[in-house]
Subunit: 342 residues, 2 copies
């Protein structure tokens, strides 16, 4: 892949968790080695949930995936994502056990992440957004309260925009705050708005850092809505929720997709209640940030890919082309910076 | 530690398994980086046994400990030996999960060991003595048959010297054979004679390699007898059993300890049925190998050690001083080689 011209290394901080942020990290590392992945720490599902329950550790899953995304060692990458499929280890990703062993051994999750980074030959750093062992709690104005990211991820909000908090009160990781303060670009990655981004954005101190940093702050909007949670949300709704969760305004730009997926694909998604996130220009009147559209879709690439794996080659998904998104982020940054300097 | 003068790097192959061989490997790596640890693959106890049962993998435990012994990275060493103490992972050493994940992922235990060696910064190589998934079987002339290294390790042989075999028939690892063939010194490490050394020595092809190699072959004799298995064995008995198990003669020398542990310590050991291995000069008449005695004991060092850990400092054990044993091995090799050349 041809790298765009970057006169000095840009510092990028990426806030997220979930597949969207992992693939975006992989693509952004082609632009700079000065990259910090800031990871939400409320995950309590799957292998991660079992390890938290049984061993009282911080959630390793998303940290592992960020490490893998930023790793330069294909073999160690495969190892970290290897999942045991039998016996009492069944379902555990090896990298989760790695991070858990390090935390139990040193009593220090951050030190464990650092050693894992060394072993994996990671470009940049992975910073837990908090080192407090937290649970995400959702509540709405009818008194409903749902505890735990995994529970919340399946919960039907009934059209409401609920409140979120972390219990106990989270302390921000000073290194995560510093990454935001010193970045040239802060990217808020696409991903589950309430399941992945909310638990990162509501950590006390993150909103302050986002408002005070001189970085260009870009939110990459989701492609489809999530049934029961973001039904009917358009691009502005997503961006507004980002700012609400972290006490904005702070965004400089929202990057959204302009290309329609095929009708066929949309029909498949619609059956699961997922619809394209629409863009309405007029919704951005009076906003403190700009909306920038581009064809960010990877669908066609997947359909035509000549991979050896017939299942992968026939699997068509509505997803971002992370390389295109990464390029668009860098261009948008250059654009905003040169307008600021003009 | 001051290294003895070694004009060129000596190639050493160490056959063993168990604590004695791990500490000896640590000491020998100060003399050469050309070291190959040849590991018995019949272990089926503890974390290793569970992983073999549940996942059908080769036994990782002794390989892990050899890797750790040869590692130059203290942090990764601690990690590999870290044992989970809660939940479903309880009792598993992290390094065992590492090797197991690699074997499951690649289907190739040897490739996994190689990657682990990279990560650990291992000096030399660790070679499973066979890559066949074997069980150690003991039988005696009364028709008794005991299966599995763990079972055998606790079995009372009633004064007999039983026969051992591996099921299914083991294929030797060609790299282990080659390590013996190309070594300057082959060390048969101290350790459980029937639990650790037998399953290595009886692998078909190992005896042939030991007989044909030009290496100096040195057996480091145990310090104490094991109740129910080697009661009353003297130095010559141990050495004879080594040769019987691998179809000798092939030994050049037996290195044994001349220093008596304190009466106090001997009393403690005697309560568990363990006694000093005695040396009787006349037993070596007509043997094809020499017996060389030296003070190899670490007891006094342990008693006087000013460690911060009060339990460790008060724990006095009858054990080899591995540094002294390593030096003695190198001196003995130089001595035998110069006599051969004279």
């Amino acid at each position: 892949m041809q790298e765009p011209f970057t006169p000095t290394e840009i510092k990028i901080a990426v806030i997220g968790g979930g597949t969207g942020s992992f693939t975006l990290l992989s693509a952004l590392k082609n632009h700079t080695s000065q990259i910090a992945a800031l990871v939400n720490m409320a995950d309590d599902g799957g292998s991660t949930g079992v390890l938290r329950d049984e061993l009282g550790v911080l959630p390793p899953g998303d940290v592992r995936q960020c490490l893998v995304a930023l790793s330069d060692s294909p073999k160690v990458r495969d190892l970290f994502n290897y999942r045991f499929d039998e016996g009492t280890l069944k379902g555990h990703a090896f990298g989760n056990l790695f991070l858990t062993a390090l935390e139990k051994m040193t009593g220090d999750f951050a030190a464990g992440v650092e050693l894992a980074s060394e072993v994996l030959g990671v470009k940049g750093t992975v910073e837990p957004i908090t080192l407090t062992n937290v649970t995400l709690v959702m509540s709405d104005d009818t008194g409903v309260e749902v505890r735990g990211e995994f529970e919340i991820s399946d919960y039907d909000f009934g059209g409401k925009r609920p409140d979120f908090r972390l219990e106990p009160q989270a302390e921000p990781n000073p290194r995560a705050i510093r990454a935001i303060e010193t970045a040239d670009i802060v990217v808020i990655a696409p991903g589950s708005l309430y399941g992945s981004l909310a638990p990162a954005l509501i950590v006390p101190g993150i909103g302050d850092a986002l408002r005070s940093t001189k970085a260009v702050k870009i939110y990459v909007c989701n492609l489809v809505t999530k049934p029961g949670q973001t039904d009917g949300y358009n691009v502005a709704d997503f961006a507004d929720e980002i700012e609400r969760l972290a006490d904005g305004p702070f965004l400089d730009a929202v990057l959204y997709n302009t290309e329609k997926p095929s009708d066929n694909l949309m029909d498949t998604y619609a059956k699961a209640g997922e619809k394209s996130v629409e863009f309405h220009k007029e919704k951005f009147n009076g906003k403190s940030y700009v909306a920038v559209g581009a064809n960010l879709l990877a669908g066609s690439i997947w359909q035509n890919s000549s991979t050896a794996d017939p299942i992968a080659s026939s699997r068509t998904l509505i997803r971002h082309d992370s390389g295109v998104v990464a390029n668009a982020i860098i261009e948008l940054y250059d654009d905003i910076r040169s307008r600021q300097q003009a």
